[in-house]
């Protein structure tokens, strides 16, 4: 009994409103893969089969859509929680560990121009140049990735990503741990640290690249995104960071929506080959039953930290699963880790500069609303969508306006204890 396909389709958690008709051939519905957001391609099944499975007569459109919308709201929350957690980790670190806000002149090689200049114009020029360099690096690497994928150099890609995740899980977390110990003046010896980092890193590599409990994997992905965001906050110069945030949202828009965009070409290539698309670092939240093993037929591979927010992931061949497992497993939305990173960079920078909590709160709300709107658009358009532009735009607008307009207003009100 071909239950798996139909169950899967009937209860598919896309954030899109599901089409009630389905093609007669089971095929992967690629068009609902959002780039930086959500859904895994689901298998579309026959309509009547779906109806039979649901124990009701002909499946009415409304029920399908209501289910989807209810699950749509659930998906939004399933993304809110990890994004919030990542931002909380970053903000907590920024506010307590001063290392990540100290600027000692060190910069990444991708932003070679210094911002320690005399005039505003020069500084602006330098930050724009930094941005151009950074974005070109990202573009070049994406294109390189697409080329590698096109010519089926999978081993190379896997190796590259494993190397990146090794660096993140071992080296960056070691640095982070060291700084936390320094901040709280905790005495620590090297053997203990070696044990801790070794365990942390090894379990992380296993969880992310192979198998592991879903929540542990999610936790590791959040931690990695936070670490990456902290590195960006530390090493990107002030103005360059803001310009880069703006530029990368524009790039995201272009790369995902333009017909010749690298990310879109990646999607289409994978679609043609009908295989798991190049798996990058993707956060997936499945509303699977906690006790069920979630099989990852796709590798979630780490992307180089400089690369742009990648995205799609294509669920592999799930035929081996029982209907219930697939039912539970496929209720998930996926968001690229690059999105996590850049959201956290924005909120972290808002927390780092000024020490005003109102700005941080405002950026946080703005990003969440942007994410909500992106998922709504996803439900409407049912195709790959970039998750950065709306949130980052809102975040930037709210950051600059809250910092410059709302802050003096609220400070004055608080000084006089006037309440609005």
């Amino acid at each position: 009994m071909n239950t798996s396909d139909s169950e899967e389709d009937a209860c598919n958690e896309r954030t899109a409103l599901v089409q009630s008709e389905s093609p007669s051939l089971p095929s992967y519905t690629r068009q609902t893969d959002p780039q930086h957001g959500t859904t895994e391609p689901k298998r579309v099944s026959e309509g009547p089969a779906a109806a039979a499975e649901r124990d009701s007569g002909p499946v009415p459109d409304g029920e399908d859509e209501e289910l989807t919308l209810k699950y749509g709201a659930k998906h939004v929350i399933m993304l809110f929680v990890p994004v919030t957690l990542c931002m909380v980790v970053v903000v907590a670190t920024i506010k307590s560990v001063s290392f990540y806000t100290e600027k000692n002149g060190q910069q990444l090689i991708y932003t070679p121009f210094t911002e320690d200049t005399n005039s505003v114009g020069q500084r602006l020029l330098n930050s724009v140049l930094n941005t151009i360099i950074m974005i070109s690096v990202i573009v070049v690497m994406t294109i390189f990735l697409v080329v590698l994928y096109k010519y089926r150099c999978y081993k190379f890609i896997h190796g590259w990503l494993i190397l990146s995740s090794l660096m993140l899980l071992f080296w960056f977390s070691y640095m982070y741990l060291g700084e936390v110990f320094k901040t709280y003046n905790v005495a620590m010896d090297y053997p203990t640290v070696a044990m801790i980092i070794w365990n942390f890193g090894a379990v992380g590599m296993i969880c992310i690249h192979w198998k592991g409990p879903l929540q542990l994997q999610q936790a590791y992905l959040i931690v990695i995104s936070a670490l990456m965001a902290l590195v960006f906050i530390k090493y990107l110069p002030e103005w360059s960071a803001w310009v880069i945030l703006g530029a990368i949202s524009v790039y995201d828009l272009i790369a995902v929506l333009c017909p010749k965009g690298p990310l879109r070409m990646l999607v289409e290539t994978a679609q043609e080959r009908n295989e798991p698309i190049f798996p990058a670092l993707i956060y997936s939240c499945k509303s699977a039953h906690p006790s069920s093993e979630v099989h990852h037929s796709e590798d979630v591979i780490l992307e180089r930290e400089e690369a742009e927010p990648e995205v799609q992931t294509h669920r592999g061949q799930n035929r081996s699963y029982s209907a219930e497992e697939e039912l539970e497993e496929d209720r998930g939305v996926k968001l690229g880790l690059g999105d996590f990173i850049f959201y956290s960079v924005l909120v972290g920078k808002a927390a780092a500069t000024g020490g005003d909590w109102n700005t941080t709160l405002a950026c946080f709300v703005a990003i969440l609303i942007g994410l909500c709107l992106t998922l709504l658009l996803l439900a409407i358009f049912k195709k790959a969508l970039p998750a950065l532009p709306i949130s980052i735009t809102f975040g930037l607008v709210f950051y600059f306006s809250t910092d410059n307009l709302v802050r003096p207003f609220m400070d004055n009100l608080a000084a006089h204890q006037y309440y609005i």
């Binding site: 009415p60 029920e63 919308l69 709302v406 207003f409 609220m410 204890q417 006037y418 309440y419 609005i420």
Partner: protein, 259 residues
């Protein structure tokens, strides 16, 4: 200041709102989204009113304190009016969304009622308004300092926390009453809500004369609570039922334990 001040003020200001969130909002994704969108709308209103105040402030003489205070008071009232405008705008948006939800729903009814949306929207406004008033003050309580060293009041923190609590609760009740008034097209209700909001902000202008601001504000809060209770469908009969049921239940429990 001490940790006691920090925790005390934090719990006073945010305790009720936080518990309301945990017990009534956190489990339902749709309500969480409505809450955050409500916060967003309040932020927008604050942004616009700060912009207006900022422009007025820059256009005027920065040295003249009387003018600056006057502008600040104008800013307060303008902000209140704008908040209510955005509350109305949010009401319209939620009505549209509600119709959409009902249209695609199987049972012809939306999964969430207007009263629930009113409550959640009010809570959203309340939480973000309280957070913006209180968070910076709370973070100051963690640092060193002497309260009122220049002759200001000693009770700055606790009165701020109490005022924040009142404002949060008031935003919830105003939300419920406002939406109810809009639903039933009773425009006098809306006018009264706006006037009460202006009154509460006006009373806060009396600070640091706390006797003049806090008790009246809390009196208004209690009145609004009663009004909101009746506006959302409560009645004295419901209340009496609740109490008799509880008493019956308690009596049964006592009998059972005694046996």
């Amino acid at each position: 200041m001490t940790a006691a001040v920090f925790f005390g003020c934090a719990f006073i200001a945010f305790g009720p709102a936080f518990s309301l969130f945990i017990f009534t909002i956190a489990r339902d994704p749709l309500r969480v989204i409505i809450l955050i969108a409500g916060a967003f709308f309040w932020l927008l209103s604050l942004l616009l009113s700060s912009l207006v105040w900022f422009i007025a402030m820059k256009a005027s003489n920065a040295e003249d304190t009387k003018v600056q205070t006057g502008l600040l008071i104008f800013g307060v009232f303008f902000s209140v009016l704008l908040q209510e405008v955005f509350r109305f705008a949010y009401y319209r948006l939620l009505r549209k969304a509600n119709e959409g939800l009902a249209a695609i729903s199987d049972e012809e009814t939306s999964p969430i009622s207007v009263q629930q949306m009113a409550y959640v929207a009010g809570l959203g406004f309340g939480i973000i308004s309280g957070a913006f008033s209180m968070i910076n003050i709370l973070s100051d309580t963690l640092g060193p300092g002497t309260v009122g060293i220049f002759g200001d009041s000693q009770y700055y923190f606790i009165t701020s926390a109490l005022m924040t609590l009142a404002i949060t609760l008031l935003q919830i009740f105003w939300g419920v009453v406002f939406f109810d008034g809009c639903e039933k097209s009773r425009w006098w209700v809306i006018a009264v809500v706006v006037c009460l909001h202006l009154l509460v902000s006006g009373l806060s202008l009396l600070n640091p004369l706390y006797e003049g601001s806090l008790p009246p504000v809390y009196a208004i809060t209690v009145l609004m609570a009663v009004w909101a209770f009746f506006a959302s469908g409560g009645s004295l009969h419901n209340l009496s039922l609740l109490f008799t049921r509880k008493i019956l239940f308690v009596l049964q429990l006592i009998c059972f334990v005694k046996m």
